[in-house]
Symmetry: C2
Subunit: 268 residues, 2 copies
Amino acid sequence: MPENIESVKILRLTIDGAEETLDDAVIVESPLTIMLNGQELVTLLCSPANARYLGVGYLFSEGLIINRDEIKQVTVDDRKGVVRVNTFEEKSQLAGEVYKRVITTGCGRGVSFYSFADLQQEFKTESKVKYSVESVFRLLKDFQELSDTFRLTGGVHSAALCSNEKIVVYANDVGRHNAIDSIVGRCVLDDIPTSDCVMITSGRISSEILIKVARKNIPVLVSRTAPTNIGVRLAKQTGMTLIGFARGQRMNIYANDWRISRKTSGSA
Amino acid sequence: MPENIESVKILRLTIDGAEETLDDAVIVESPLTIMLNGQELVTLLCSPANARYLGVGYLFSEGLIINRDEIKQVTVDDRKGVVRVNTFEEKSQLAGEVYKRVITTGCGRGVSFYSFADLQQEFKTESKVKYSVESVFRLLKDFQELSDTFRLTGGVHSAALCSNEKIVVYANDVGRHNAIDSIVGRCVLDDIPTSDCVMITSGRISSEILIKVARKNIPVLVSRTAPTNIGVRLAKQTGMTLIGFARGQRMNIYANDWRISRKTSGSA
């Protein structure tokens, strides 16, 4: 059993009166405290496997780290559930900002940044990449096959960064934000280029998910489920291609469909 | 079209090469700033309909308001997206605390309160209420029938507070936390008793969802999807009955199944 799964005893009842005691798997939720230059920033509840990448990805998504060169050291204390990130320069002023944020969609980890006008300017994607509709369906199929934890427990979100050919980075986490931040963190730390990639997520596309992906300059975002109205608006404004309800047989394109080329028309 | 739905143009592609432009509905995400005694606490991204109840419910869930008698006035400015709650006593010290919190499950609105030992003591439910398995399935059916927005957009979470007979309070929101906080806020403001009720949610049961429901002293929590391991542990510790994957034909009981009486056995 992987470390992010725990076995529990359950009682299963059916509508016709049957009952059965059995072992079931639930997803593990574990606290991870992120420290930046010795200052405690936040404690996330997340899946235990991704501490290093999640810590860096969270800082990137909050705008506290812009690129890898700023990072002096990343250390993880698994026992205590702490990831410590040290940068070459002090970040104390910026770190204070992280608490003045919007708490997002009930859920919502919050964006320190919430001026849509600024956003549009700063995170506009210039990528001219195109994906065939067949390659998007193929990537979705690969994504589903990897999402074993999801099938086992129903309590986890998955995300994947993909090139035209294949899944490049994959993550599972109890939180849809964490899964994406883990991928972003890995791309930052390992210098993985993202500017012509697709991000696939199992979760909803609220504004803050869209902002995370736009901030890492990823031009195509695909979800198995729905976007919100602000998610759609931000995709249009930043030039991102936004696809929802992508589930194997069909997909809905909400913005910039020209990046998805079709057999007949090439681009609409 | 209800105010929490917006129409957008989409391009729908299918795996066999068909394409179609059509109007689709997406859920509206709207900022709501919560002010307590003139102090700006937080801005949530939420569905626009629930401002008054959501504001009060958020403050209750964060431990900043304990009961209705503390509340002097609640005013909503729909145009600006602000709810102002004033209490008879100052809460400035407590309000400072709200920012020192755990950010939960990636998602995660955060709990100001995160000592499980304390939690167990403070929020233990004493309710001896029992629900027949048939009545839980019936409430689930009613819940599904109400969740029209969900069927329309796929981007919304629903929650319902139920008695043995029927749904008493129902809410839809773009965030699973907000849907529950809205119900909690309505119960606080309208003095609706909850201590023998069932809460049904469309969303996952992470620790902070369980804590919200335990804090309002609701003894039975039912989800259409999965709990996390900490969700299960806290249910056991607080004496709550926790049911997951409740989807019309069957349900899994993770803790305190004695509150669900069955035809044959009465209680296990």
